[in-house]
Amino acid sequence: MRILLRFLTHLSFRAKISLGLAVIIIVFGLLLGSMSYVISSRTVLDETIKRGQILAINLSARSVESILAMNFLRLTVLATEITQLGEEADISYAFFLDRDGQVLAHSFRTGFPVALLQVNPVEDDQPYAVRFLDTGEERLYDFAAPVMLGQTRLGTVRVALSYSSVKASLDRLMRISITMTLGATLLALIGGGLFARTVTRRINALRTSVGNMVKGNLDVRVSGNLDRNCWEIKDCHQDNCPAYGDRQRRCWYVAGTLCPGCGAGEFPDKMANCLDCPVYRHSVGDEIQSLAESFDYMAWRLKNHIDELSRSEKRLSRQKQLLKTILDVTPDMVALQDEKLVYLAVNKAFCRHLGREEDEVVGHTDFDILNPEQADRNFHEDRQILLTRTPLSKEIMTRGGEGKKWHHVVKVPVIENQRIIGLLSTARDITVVKQYQEKLIHSQKMEDLGRLAGGVAHEINTPLSIILGYAQLLLKDLPPNDQVAQDVAIIEKQTQACRKIVADLLSFSRGTDQAREKLDVNHSIREVVDLVEQIFRQNRIVILSNLDEQIPPIFGDRERLRQVWINLLNNAADAIGTDGCIAVKTKLCPHRRRLVVSVADTGTGVAEEDLDKVFEPFFTTKAVDKGTGLGLSVTFGIIKDHGGRITVLSPVPSEYQDFAGECEYEPGPGTVFFVELPLEGEILPDDECIEIPKKG
């Protein structure tokens, strides 16, 4: 059974239908054939029995007179004649008995078989009796009928019909039945085969189309063309109707058709109006046809949807690419985390900052990519944002290989449908902004300091002049060797020192008048270098000059600029102490709108935290009696008065450490001062000079 089922399962649909039809037809053919044979054979048997009855009753009626007359000859003739009746001669015997059961006449040629007297008795009130007999040679139906006259029994008639002739009839019937059943079954099988072929041909077409669809070919067509299309049936000429000229789709699958009776909307919503439409009634097919048309419609819709999807995908892909490009190109770090703080997306800047690939970040948390301390801090901060739903904005400073870095961090909870689904973090590098900010604060501070110093100096200058004047008057009045005169001389000397300090303070705060003239910066520097070179040499300090001869003359205060160079060189020599080199370099910036003077030394350098303070008044790292802390302040003030700028770097950047191979001393960290002066005007141009390295 299981093998049979497996065999049936593997058969093709057409084979199954054909086999099923064949089985049904054969079974019903056999059933009908058998039933018709049974009914026919019963009819034949009934007819035979009826014929036997009629024969017996007829013979009974015909024999009355002869029995009454005891006409044995006539009875014998009756008996023998009847056995020769008909072509079939199927009457085996006939005989007559009198009322006492004595044989009156019979049709047997060779004596009467007495055994027949014992079988098939018939009563007076029975019209006949029938008995199926087996004589050994043949089988026969024995009919007995009483010979009655009124209520009087005259005798009995017995007639026998041979079963062999009945059987021959039955056999003939069976042959006819079998032949007809076979013929009908064959015809039904041929018809069934044609039917199965018709049905499966269309289903196979559907299957082929499905196969094509699976392979991606959506240009399938299963349903055939109509003999008459809707515009031919309606005889309309509305060539602006979407169904007009569309031979592939039935009009009820087309939306927006213009027939007055057509419903609005698409299939199947518009079908309600179609059922009574003459076009629909003419064109609608059977279920398979409807299936094929629906399939075509589905394929068409699918193709349209897929085309639309494909276009949308391309658009989306392009938009995604654009978005990614924007995110990747932006210098800001952008990261999106889900509500469990797992990274969903990060941009390249973020990855760069972490020094990891995107794959190493996406799908991980801070604990996977940061140090535990930082990750823990971030975790609590992020959780706080997600819990409070409050965005966070802060500036953080980090120190790394590239020095101090400032970032502006913004963390925003991503809320969708009142629910937090993640956290968007952005971080912008604001180091430069921060530097500018610091510079601004610093310059503001210097400005305020200058104003303060100028005010103080101005107020002190007058009492100092009075003290100096009275001290000098006293000296004139006192003999030089007098102890008092010597004390007054000390007052005068110290007052002079105070005046110097006040003059420096005024100089820092632009408190002094400027004597501007055209001058050569290189020349000014050379004068100062020549002046100090001898003194420095005593301490084995070498000044190396590299002056750009292309520098044009500038307008400036000759004396005060000399003061600048002296201050810078002194400062460098103080930083070196003994055994070192000072490199003085002038250079015209490429855009030829400013010049740069750099003074680099091989000294001890300046601590980073002190770099911003070196230009402040009274700031000094020297011993108390070695300097006033006003040298660089004065320098700062002078350069500022010239519309220039002075900056300091320590340690000296590598490109400035190379003292052209002329310095034989071991270089220290060193310090380099850059003085920028405008060639024209009183302020520096906007464009930076690339010669000056940025602060780290």
Binding site: V64, D98, P113
Partner: protein
């Protein structure tokens, strides 16, 4: 699936069971054969009714009467059937019939030629002791409307020994000047039995133009043919009716017992009346040979 298969199998089984619903045949051995000659039991007293009608009618009419006679007299009386009138006369003459119930013509011949004895006669159901014959033709036969028209026509009579069916008619024709020679053909109805009916049917179906039957014969066929299509041309004079005769040599005592029994039938008695009416008799009365003189005279006149 399984249920459908089971149903199909059940249907097939039913069909094939229904194929052979004959009862099992009864075995009969036909090899044992005997030459059987019917046992001829000679009845003590044979009773015969002149076969003017079919044997069936004869049997039905006289069966009850014979049962009554047998019961009353204690004799073994059995009805025998003769093929025709001639046979009847011959069997009566040869003693094969003990008691004969026949027409006056037959008994006139039998008494005169063979010594039979008439011992009783009947009164017709009509109450008459005499009866006559009818001369009939087809009503649509316009050629025959009077007796005279019968000349040259085909005449069918019941039997040459029939009284009402031939003798009376012949006498009537002769009385009207028509002799047997005047007919194109004189035929007698074929036997055995049923001869009155045969005559009527012969005329009815047009095989013969004229027929002669006894009174009351037409009514026998009332339910078989349309009697209105039969025209009664003439009624013969009436002659003494049917009678009982004993064969020559029959024991007088037997004759007397039978005669007494016959005469004892009382029309007023319901059972007797039934017997008499079945036999188409009014009643039975005693008879003497002189009663049949008019018939003898007629026989003589007709030259039979």
């Amino acid at each position: 699936m399984r249920r459908i298969l089971s149903l199909l199998c059940f249907a097939l089984v039913l069909v094939f069971l229904g194929c052979d619903d004959r009862p099992a045949p009864l075995k009969v051995d036909l090899s044992l054969r005997e030459e059987i000659s019917p046992e001829v039991r000679q009845p003590v007293i044979t009773y015969a009714y002149l076969p003017q009608f079919s044997h069936t009618v004869s049997f039905e009419r006289h069966q009850a009467l014979i049962r009554y006679l047998a019961a009353t007299t204690g004799l073994d009386i059995r009805q025998v059937f003769t093929e025709n009138f001639h046979d009847h006369i011959q069997m009566l003459a040869h003693g094969k019939i003990d008691i004969s119930y026949a027409n006056p013509f037959v008994h006139a011949l039998a008494t005169e030629r063979h010594g039979a004895r008439v011992f009783a006669k009947i009164i017709e159901l009509t109450g008459e002791a005499a009866f006559g014959g009818l001369i009939i033709s087809r009503r649509d036969n316009d050629e025959i409307t009077t007796l005279a028209d019968c000349r040259g026509k085909r005449w069918i009579a019941v039997d040459q020994f029939s009284a009402g069916g031939y003798l009376f008619g012949l006498g009537h024709f002769i009385d009207h000047g028509i002799t047997p020679a005047d007919f194109a053909e004189i035929a007698f109805a074929p036997g055995p039995g049923g001869k009155q009916e045969s005559v009527i049917l012969g005329v009815y179906f047009g095989h013969y133009d004229v027929g002669t039957v006894r009174e009351g014969a037409l009514e026998l066929l009332a339910d078989k043919i349309d009697l209105s299509r039969i025209r009664v041309l003439a009624r013969t004079p009436r002659y003494p009716g049917w009678s009982y005769a004993a064969r020559p040599g029959l024991d007088d005592e037997v004759v007397e017992r039978i005669r007494q029994a016959l005469l004892a039938l009382d029309r007023e008695d319901p059972e007797d009346r039934l017997i008499l009416e079945q036999a188409a008799m009014g009643r039975i009365i005693a008879a003497s040979p002189a009663d049949f003189l008019p018939v003898r005279d007629l026989v003589r006149r007709t030259g039979l």
